[in-house]
Amino acid sequence: MMITGPEITGPEITGLEITDLLWSSDPATGERRQVRHDAVIARLEAGGQRRAARLARRLPARDGILIADEIDALQVRVHCELQRLGEELQLPRRIAEWIAQFRGTRPGEPIRVVDVGCGLGHVVRWLAAHEALGPDVELVGVDLNRTLITRAAELAAAEALDCRFVAGDAFEPGVAGGGDKTTVVVSSGLLHHLHAADLPDFFAAQRRLGVTAFAHWDIDPGPWTTLGAWVFHQARMREPVSRHDGVLSARRAHPAAVLLAAAQAGAPNYNPACVDGAPWWPRLSDVLRPVTGVAP
């Protein structure tokens, strides 16, 4: 197993989420790499994130290496808490509503829904549990993190849900499924993990893969959202890492203009759309909003 520091590529992102630094894999083989504890702390300190560095010092480590099993357990706990937030935000229903509207334009056509960066697969499992999209729907969750994918599959099996989970890069050909079916790619809370400069490639990858449509939900940034995220995470979340990362997610979410420009650059023929609310007026019912695109 290789040993590495946190793997964040591209330009420096202002404010790193702690969970982004705890897990690393070899891009070629998918093999998990060990992560040095001091490298995580140094990375956070270098960015002036003193509180995050304090939290990182408490992470379980042995001989200077983060203890994989305990980090995995932490990641699962954090994502379980995130799922609870997704439930409160009615996120799966919102995604189901959008896909159902899209599907209405292609009645009777079998469809594949791929959730990129699905974590524990909350959205995919919810869609399966509620049979929200009707018949002839293939539900696939994809994430780079094998631990989360394994747990997602276990949870799906525990509730006998008709969906599947794949560890890997969703945009590699064949990972999420063949190109023979109408495919809708969705995500929730993924885009703010990407640097703005990397967003056009994210959308271009979907165009190259020939997906039929995409809809990626992320936080509509603004002062009200940040305040709400702080209150909610203080009130609801138990893990200090969840509290830190949740508020930071709201702070570093991309405005609609950035997402729209990236989607237009990466997938111009998809007629992308994304709208933010007025920054000084809280959008209580639309804390997360999608950037969408449909192939011509």
Binding site: V76, Q83, Q90, R125, A129, V231, R238, L284, S285
Partner: protein, 168 residues
């Protein structure tokens, strides 16, 4: 007398049940968790009862020895209810709204009331207890109020420890 005691017990029971629910939320990752939610409410209720029982017992022992102090304890209860009753009524109203609203607007109840009120709960609980010394000028009643609030606020951490122990 009955409405003061009954309302305090009712609010403590609700608070305990909700603490149990909060403690269980986001633990299992399951989609269908209604049964777990019901069990969590009951655990919260039982834990609140167990933690508040010594305080109730102490007050009852004091009243058995000195029945004339009943009015002091009722004054203490009324003082606490001045804050807890409107707070609890708003929370119950928000829960009713959550249940009644169309799914698209349910988050309003969480964003406007349930989330912020969960955040404010410990401060409101403490403020209610701090009203008792002003209302009664009685050290024992004030101590009982503080102990009751401490017990109520301990329900969620106690259940969290139980969850943590279960996952080890």
């Amino acid at each position: 007398m009955i409405w003061v005691v009954g309302t305090l017990i009712g609010l403590a029971a609700l608070d305990g049940a909700f603490a149990g629910f909060r403690s269980s939320c986001g633990r299992t990752g399951l989609i269908r968790h209604r049964r777990q939610d019901v069990v969590a409410h009951l655990h919260g209720l039982a834990t609140a009862a167990a933690l508040l029982a010594p305080v109730a017992a102490a007050v009852l022992v004091d009243l058995a020895a000195r029945p004339a102090r009943l009015d002091t304890y009722l004054d203490a209860g009324r003082a606490m209810l001045m804050l807890y009753l409107p707070f609890g009524a708003i929370v119950v109203g928000a829960l009713a709204g959550y249940a009644a609203l169309p799914w698209r607007h349910r988050f309003l109840a969480s964003a406007l009331i349930l989330g912020p009120f969960t955040f404010a709960r410990p401060f409101v609980a403490l403020a209610g207890a701090l009203l008792v010394p002003y209302a009664t000028r009685d050290a024992l009643a004030s101590s009982a109020a503080l102990a009751a609030v401490a017990a109520a606020l301990a329900v969620e951490p106690v259940l969290n420890r139980r969850w943590a122990a279960a996952s080890c």
